[in-house]
């Protein structure tokens, strides 16, 4: 590894983290305008054109609000919890490939921060960390509502991690690799995994909703039941960290679904149309791939918003029933299905 690689990696990390963090305000804007659109309202439309600067105003407000630490909390964990949540959310994105490669100065720069053999495992580990932030927040807040929120989220996220993991396992069996980059390359070569593994796609999508604590699975922070759940006692920037973590988790979840099932950064009919007929290659193709990745992730992000403002919320035991009695058995059957496909030599 020479200086070029180091610089390239630093630039990539800075860009990805920067884009992730700055996507959150855009997402909150989309969420608010989107919910307003669904609910026959206007949404924020005063600050900046179309209210686009509203998230900025909110950010400034968060920064300048008094940082209250209630006297009855466990200080260390109370302060650490939002950071854990946030870091875990950002970390998971490291292994997601968002394009093939740029060619800079005759050298290729792969468009993924961390291209490791155990990429998918790393992703699961990192996103699994996120639950600690919520449990710690709920427990250290020393508030009964927070406690219930933390309890719910730990049970929920651990249960749904299983079905999430099993859905991913079926992809891994099908692809025969743990490297996200390779999984995407295979999909560019063959068909997108969503077609042979459709059930797995649905399971992963549902589990992603549960993992991000979004409605209909937003029990840890169910406002009408638990006031604000695990972050009841949080304010200013600490609250905003949880808030950002939720949105970054949404982005990561969408990116995960895209990478594993929808061909990642692949363009539709990439081999046939873009590389074959149009003969694209190099940087131009990479830019198109980036756009394709963004569009796919954007679609799922909108789906998150859309579902949130349409459906009611599950009850805790129903959530568990769905997780343990429906999704996990289904995912197990699906793993068998993926194995059968491999046995029949479908992945080629």
């Amino acid at each position: 590894m020479d200086l070029f690689d180091v610089v390239a990696t630093i630039v990539k990390v800075a860009l990805v983290v920067g884009i992730l963090i700055s996507t959150v305000p855009v997402l909150t804007w989309v969420e608010r305008r989107g919910s307003a659109f669904i609910q026959l309202r206007l949404g924020p439309n005063r600050v900046g054109p179309l209210g686009l600067l509203q998230p900025l105003a909110d950010g400034i407000k968060f920064l300048f609000k008094e940082d209250v630490i209630p006297p009855h909390v466990y200080k260390l964990f109370y302060v650490a919890a939002p950071a854990v949540s946030f870091i875990a959310a950002v970390l998971a994105f490291a292994v997601i490939p968002f394009g093939s490669a740029f060619v800079v100065d005759g050298r290729t720069v792969p468009l993924v921060i961390l291209d490791v053999d155990v990429g998918v495992l790393f992703l699961l580990a990192a996103s699994g960390m996120g639950v600690f932030g919520i449990i710690l927040a709920g427990w250290s807040s020393n508030n009964k509502y927070s406690m219930l929120g933390g309890l719910r989220s730990s049970a929920q996220m651990i249960s749904y991690e299983l079905s999430l993991g099993l859905a991913i396992v079926s992809v891994l069996i099908y692809a025969g690799t743990l490297r996200p980059v390779e999984i995407v390359q295979q999909q560019i070569g063959g068909t997108w995994n969503v077609f042979p593994l459709f059930i797995g796609f649905l399971i992963l999508l549902v589990s992603a909703f549960a993992e991000t604590n979004r409605l209909p699975f937003d029990l840890p922070e169910a406002e009408t039941e638990l006031v604000a759940g695990y972050h009841t006692e949080y304010s200013s920037m600490k609250f905003s960290m949880f808030f950002m973590a939720e949105y970054i988790n949404m982005i990561t979840g969408s990116a995960l679904v895209t990478t594993l099932f929808l061909g990642g950064y692949a363009l539709p009919f990439q081999r046939l149309v873009f590389e074959g007929w149009l003969g694209l290659e190099g940087n131009l193709l990479a830019v198109l791939e980036l756009l394709s990745f963004t569009a796919k992730v954007g679609f799922f992000l909108w789906l998150f918003v859309w579902v949130r403002w349409t459906l009611p919320r599950f009850r805790f035991d129903q959530l568990m029933r769905l997780g343990w009695k429906v999704l996990i058995p289904l995912a197990l059957v699906h793993v068998v299905w993926a194995s059968l496909l491999v046995m029949w030599g479908v992945p080629a």
Partner: protein, 401 residues
């Protein structure tokens, strides 16, 4: 206090149970209801409602205000359906006076009561859906309520504190074009209810959250004295509009929906159907409302028109007496109840012949319905409590008075 400041987990424990204080300022307790829940995990083992945070002593106030003045207080009871409260109280006073109102007034009162029912049920639909997590329904129904408020404002001059009903009539005649506007509102509120039903009625999550939750058996419902949609959802076909028709409800063609299980879902369905039936009643009333005088011909009770006060000696005297002294109903006591949006809303007034009530006792539907929460809550989970509160539809203004 020093114990509070200590860092460390501190929960009040009673064996394995934790006491949770839900309210009086909690997002889903609809006002200042406070529930003391004893929970085992999330399963509720005991539930004690604490009320009184909004107590304003209406019944006592009634003894110090003239008969007419007390109408303004009734607005603030069930503030989601102020017009039907006005009607309920005034009808009790009119019963005391043995006074008949002209048909035009009767029909307008029916329209007002049914619009109030639609308004209250729309609010219930929005908030109870919001409690179960469906936030969007809230905005759909509130947009309709906004139109309804505009209609109220055109008729009465106020959106919420209507105080429109007078002893022996109404404050004013119907403004021009108002009835047509009501017709247009009714035509467009039904599609909105359809849309909300499309979102909820057969939604799997909604069914899971509401079916067999907070079941109140037919026997319990009767024993606890609940009324209105809560009673009917438990399978009792009892609606004062049919059972003891007032305001000529027996002339209208409408049906009383009633449930079979008595769970949250049944209460939801009953209220949805009630809105549709109310719309039917309003349509019929709009068709049939006759011309003619709005107020009863009772010069010692009903205020004369202003121009007559300025021109005729006798009317000037009546005007002066009614406004300074009030009216003097005969000695006696009456109870009159109407089927309000929440259930049986009754006024028991005692007169000693003076200008104000000697005693006024209100039978609030929401208060008695709320008492049933204890029976429904035991063994349910915390999210169910939220759904149950929503389905009981308590209005703390009426509960506490």
């Amino acid at each position: 206090m020093s114990e509070m400041l200590q860092s460390g987990p501190r929960v009040e424990r009673d064996g394995d149970r934790v006491v949770i204080n839900m309210g009086p300022s909690h997002p889903s307790t609809h006002g200042v209801l406070r529930l003391v829940l004893e929970v085992d995990g999330e399963v509720v083992r005991s539930c004690r409602p604490e009320i009184g945070y909004l107590h304003r002593g209406f019944e006592k106030i009634a003894e110090n205000k003239t008969w007419q003045q007390f109408v303004t207080w009734t607005d603030r009871m069930d503030y989601l359906a102020p017009l039907s409260n006005n009607v309920a109280y005034i009808m009790a006073v009119e019963k005391l006076l043995d006074l008949e109102v002209p048909p035009r007034c009767r029909y307008l009162r029916v329209i007002c009561c049914e619009l109030a029912r639609i308004s209250a049920h729309l609010l219930w639909l929005g908030t109870s859906a919001l409690d179960i997590g469906a936030a969007t329904v809230f905005f759909y129904t509130f947009q309709q309520r906004e139109i309804l408020y505009d209609l109220y404002e055109k008729l009465t001059g106020a959106r919420l504190t209507t105080s429109f009903v007078r002893i022996g009539g109404m404050a004013r005649d119907i403004p021009e074009g108002w009835l047509e506007e009501v017709g247009r509102f009714i035509d467009q509120v039904i599609p909105v209810i359809d849309e909300v039903e499309a979102l909820l009625t057969r939604n799997r999550i909604w069914l899971d959250r509401t079916q067999n939750v907070g079941v109140l058996s037919r026997e319990d419902a009767i024993a606890l004295g609940v009324s209105g949609p809560v009673l009917r959802a438990s399978g009792v076909e009892w609606d004062l509009r049919k059972a003891q028709p007032y305001l000529g409800y027996d002339e209208f063609d409408f049906e009383i929906p009633y449930g079979s299980v008595g769970d949250v879902y049944d209460r939801y369905l009953v209220r949805i159907y009630e809105m549709r039936e109310s719309a039917k009643i309003v349509r019929q009333a709009l068709e049939r409302i006759p011309d003619g005088p709005m107020n009863a011909d009772a010069p010692k009770i009903v205020l004369p028109p202003k121009e007559k006060v300025l021109t005729s000696m006798e009317d000037l005297i009546h005007h002066f007496i009614i406004l300074t002294e009030g009216i003097h109903p005969p000695k006696g006591e009456v109870y009159h109840a109407i089927e309000g949006a929440k259930g049986e809303l009754g006024f028991y007034v005692v007169s000693d012949g003076g200008p104000s009530a000697w005693r006024c006792r209100i039978r609030p539907a929401a208060f008695i319905n709320l008492a049933a929460i204890e029976r429904m809550a035991i063994g349910q989970m915390i999210p169910d409590i939220v759904a149950i509160i929503g389905s009981l539809d308590p209005v703390m203004g009426e509960v506490d008075r």
